[in-house]
Symmetry: D2
Subunit: 281 residues, 4 copies
């Protein structure tokens, strides 16, 4: 597949969805030229949304962080996180009680947003097992891996409650070619050990696409093939966009490298409609 200019694609679409990490920003900050491309989308009055599997922060905190990094105009309601999807689930389905979590105190905000009381896994003891009505994996930081992952296994062996994973990614890049295990990687290990599957949120599942779609179509119908999803990861961004039925563009500014994109498309069978160097190109 030939590489095309992202800027030349923009005006063909009535709405654009962007992944965050690897598309808008990376470990060094905002990707050079991304600010100008986003401004161009705005100037053309094309609605856009940032869809991120990062559940460690709220949309407000994401917007604040963009501002600090030099992208001043992102509004909180333009950011859609997998944590929001988990939060909606809890709001609709968990009647009350405490929700145990793996993650930072900051990430537990998604539990509070669902009008439920968060309790870190370190405070879950056999004596209060009965008070816990759900568990959610939010972040890979904020707890002791050895103690708290073992506690989680023992807790979930004993109780039968809904378990949510607010971010299914196994790893995330931390700069310098290195990665960290994400909360989805921890959840996946526990699922294998317990022999059961939790409820996962985030791309490639289509809930975030659906949520974004409903927001942007409030004022009128947009055909699916007039929406473009832009991402750097075949198995989440592009697969999710393909499943949802919108057009997809793979950018080579993040997880997928220029030397490998053709063999990765062939081996995964996940085929984007376009390949671009980056959204700045």
């Amino acid at each position: 597949m030939a590489i095309v200019s992202f800027k030349s694609l923009i005006s063909n679409y009535d709405a654009i969805f962007l992944d965050s990490y690897g598309v808008v920003k990376n470990s060094s900050g905002i990707i050079k030229g991304a600010k100008e491309s986003i401004q161009r989308i705005r100037d053309l009055n094309i609605p856009f949304r940032i869809l991120t599997n990062d559940a460690s922060r709220s949309p407000v905190e994401h917007a604040k962080r963009y501002r600090e990094q030099g992208l001043p105009d992102i509004h909180a309601n333009e950011v859609i996180t997998s944590g929001m999807m988990a939060s909606f689930y809890m709001q609709g389905k968990i009647a009350g009680g405490k929700v145990a979590y793996i993650g930072t105190e900051q990430s537990a905000r998604y539990i509070v947003d669902a009008n439920l009381e968060p309790i870190p896994i370190s405070q879950v003891k056999e004596s209060n097992f009965h008070e816990i009505s759900a568990m959610v994996f939010l972040d890979d930081e904020g707890f002791d891996w050895n103690t708290d992952i073992n506690s989680t296994v023992n807790f979930l062996r004993k109780v039968n409650i809904p378990v949510l994973v607010a971010n299914s990614d196994l790893i995330y890049p931390i700069g310098g070619g290195k990665v960290s295990i994400a909360t989805g990687g921890i959840a996946n290990a526990i699922e294998t050990i317990l022999g059961r599957r939790f409820i996962h949120y985030g791309k490639p599942d289509v809930q975030m696409f659906m949520y974004a779609y409903r927001q942007i179509t409030k004022t009128g119908l947009i055909p699916m093939n007039k929406i473009l999803m832009v991402g750097d990861t075949l198995k989440t961004d592009i697969l999710g966009g393909n499943k949802f039925g919108v057009q997809t563009a793979l950018v080579l500014s993040g997880n997928t490298q220029i030397e490998r994109y053709e063999s990765q498309i062939a081996s995964t069978g996940v085929i984007p409609d376009y390949i671009c160097y980056s959204i700045a190109d």
Copy 2:
């Protein structure tokens, strides 16, 4: 979990989604009492939809079959199939060309509905590989398993096109306690052999729920917790409903037996909000 009466639940909801096989019908025909329960839902003016992973027939054919079996009032637009989801995908994403399929000629209707030309896998040869722009698994009947499954493996090893699975179920019941391998079981075997994953449609993925939701909410907003999904299978109906965020009721008139439901809920971690004997109860 205690077993409750389905009829007593109905009036608490503003919309009801029903699985078909194991809920409305089984291998002997329409489940005794299902007709009366559906009539009661209608009498209360509660919108309902039947969500089925059966992509071997179109909604019109499903409605006709219900009529023949003694359920005369189901309209085609009350039936939502996983085949429709695959068809929407093809319509939006496949620009032209032929679509190879595994299934009956009847099931290939979903390709025609997407304004594309179906070609059975038996007619796919190296000489026409280049004309094929997608492949879809529609039904487990209508082809020779030995020849055509091997042909599919060899075809997909050579080309790089989107592959859709219109029904992810591995098996389906055929009466007398027996099952048949479904098109999803055949697709799954080929995915393992090729080491890649196709694009799957059907419960527990939430597309059908989203489609049904958008239909019933055209005339006004319905909160998620005022919608009830009713199904006989934890891993498709109940997991899908839970992910989508609606209330869920497991019925014991199909795949899940009364002696086993508690251990299956515990081992899968998929927890319905209610358990009922059947929709007739």
Copy 3:
């Protein structure tokens, strides 16, 4: 890793194990030069064995086929098949009764060798379920896929007996760049559907290595690092040899192509001690 000459390696070893397909023969017959290399091994009085996952024929039939194809000197006791391992299991563990099988009548020989009575899956009915004490997957030919694979699923859902897979390979090459699904691919699909694992024989499991080792060491001890396993497939031949602890040489005359061996070694993590073009080189 650099490519070295196989012939230059031979004299460093006290015993040599060879895979058959892709190493000694391919779809066109005996690989050019293989006969001379095997003769050289014999001339140096180095004991060797052919270890094959092909359970469709007995060692006697394999030797006969080699003769017909122009390799006259292979003795039946130099050929070790995964079918033999399954046969030993049945001999030791199945006290009596009939053994149901998927495969050709020829392959059922392995059941007769275990002093048990074979019955093809097509003759297994609910009325004789109780007579069957084990089931074995032997070959991908000799039965009707649609009818008999579905029968197998329904049979195994009802009974609780040992199930053996005499060849775990998912596919095998049939020439012209094409493959056929092997009996292991069929077994794997059924395992996924039933949610349980059968007892698998064949490389990379170490039973065949152990059997070969015991044969060649009858007349004296050979250190593990003086034995060389030669194969064309990383995940069976090389992984098995590595696990067993012998030296391993990957040849590029079969499944693994010269353009891909480095990336496949990197992605699988299965690392041979040597790479050679072929045993003729």
Copy 4:
């Protein structure tokens, strides 16, 4: 399946293999009556071996621990560990260099036994990547999970070396109905993240059985069906014994509970020849 007396089985066999944890000992110490049963096996001059997936200690340390717990007569050469199998592999296949490990300093003994130099993962840095010729997972203790598991992922993404798992168990019991994640559970999580499989040692793989078999048959041949493997876990002890071809007895004094053994045998398809309460019975 009926439960039979273990003591009544002993005299039918010419050799007995015992799992350790759940069979000979548990979190409270030596299982009541185990000492007397082992004495009886000795009195009958039946050779026996203890086969354990616990690679955190050497056979000498295992024997010492048995002595401290009240089982004075176990000799180190009667204990066979999965760590020994990994050690043999390293001895035969790793020519030199350092071997990185996850585990305690005590467990690193298995690397020293292979005449190689151990280096804990915490001391592996990009500057010494090139000195490391293999990596081995030995124990779940002795390192910082958060830092060192992430370091392991980043290290293995960059190098292409053999990786061994000296114990494939996902969890192990720690008393009071609780479990801890074993080194195999940690390895498994990393394998999923990297998308590759390491070389695993321990039951159900047959290497330990083969090693034990060769030891006890040094002075004469013992037919496979005159050997009994006794274990408390279907998927390791019993599956391994069945694959190796010896008779198998499941005891209910460990992982498998009396209320569940029938459903677990049915769901796993792993069928022991006998069921006993314990080796004391």
